[in-house]
Symmetry: C2
Subunit: 219 residues, 2 copies
């Protein structure tokens, strides 16, 4: 790899800070001790992002001539360049792939839509909503069984834990772990890692610097 550049938004309001998806990539880069720079794209100009990210979102990672979007794909890309993030033997690698997809396609799939209702303080009950509730809680019940038996999903800590822990972390303020201690402890274990702490602090500092710049410009 050459000079890695991680592109994220130049500014966001307080609410999503600490949860912008560049966090997953910062975390992986810190775990692997890979140096990188941060570039920004204007929050209000989704059109400008389309050549790099077809949904107008962040993040994307640039490695010389290559630009990669989708956090799952970026995590795989970094995993292939660092034995700290993913083992190189086929069985170990296969386990990491399983759990990476499990995080993003089996657990995050109900988690994000379910969270949309929470963010909206929407208490409206309906048959479709009941299906969505069961979908999320079913997945969390299964994760509770899995996490009661192991520290990390695929043996040693890997990119699959970065994805799963960050997916679960986004639910932790909504009371879903009150009776799921293994999920709660897993999130605590993952977010206690120095690489997570550094990544989180760096994301917060990035947006605080943007606040300061905005304030200076408006004076």
């Amino acid at each position: 790899m050459t000079n890695l550049i991680l592109t994220t938004l130049d500014w966001v309001p307080d609410f999503p800070r600490g949860f912008v998806r560049d966090l997953r990539i910062r975390w992986a880069l810190e775990e692997a001790d890979l140096p990188y720079e941060v570039a920004t794209t204007p929050v209000g100009d989704a059109e400008a992002r389309l050549p790099f990210q077809p949904f107008g979102q962040v993040p994307w990672l640039t490695d010389g001539d290559v630009t990669i979007f989708e956090t799952g794909a970026i995590l795989m890309y970094l995993g292939e360049h660092s034995t700290v993030l993913m083992p190189t033997d086929r069985p170990g690698r296969t386990k990491v792939m399983e759990w990476l997809f499990a995080a993003l396609n089996s657990v995050e799939m109900p988690a994000v839509p379910w969270s949309l209702y929470r963010w909206a303080d929407d208490e409206t009950q309906s048959p479709g909503r009941a299906h969505l509730e069961r979908f999320l809680h079913g997945r969390l019940d299964h994760m509770e069984v899995v996490l009661a038996r192991r520290d990390w999903l695929a043996g040693p800590f890997s990119i699959s834990d970065i994805a799963m822990a960050d997916v679960l972390r986004q639910l932790q303020d909504y009371g879903v772990f009150a009776e799921r201690p293994a999920c709660r402890d897993y999130v605590a274990r993952a977010t206690a890692r120095p690489a997570f702490k550094k990544a989180f602090a760096d994301q917060m500092a990035h947006f605080e610097a943007a606040d300061a710049e905005r304030a200076a410009r408006s004076e």
Copy 2:
């Protein structure tokens, strides 16, 4: 690879037939012309599936000593064993990974929860539901722009098209493609492939054979 065994449910009611996730794997196996056998797990016994699939679902793929769950991970595994499903050069492979994760984490994430409401004939409107509607339609609008410019997502047909076309196919009866002809044509193009037709027919035949067996047993 050795003898590939794809495990799916022994029987399902009419409604999900043609949409059980083993279809994505059958499709990939047919595209790659890889021989495989089908094994079954009793539909009513999710507990029995947990050693192979931590959410109690199907499918999983067995390749000798290795068992793989999550359709995304199985598609990657097969892609790494067949140049028909994924190119071997790094830039080509990276594009396939991006679009595979885009299908499963950016498009299927709103598509399945949104479909839960349709399946339930649930017309209840609420703020959270409005967010979910915007989430899905925003992603489809972006896919329309992408698909208006290319036949397949990552250059040649690949596992990313199997995932994306199957995600979009599940929405096609709900009117969302009336003003999105590129999405509609992409699904038509993908499902016209002989490998899809074979996979689809095989899944339907699998469950029809199960009906016949049930009928014979109850006589």
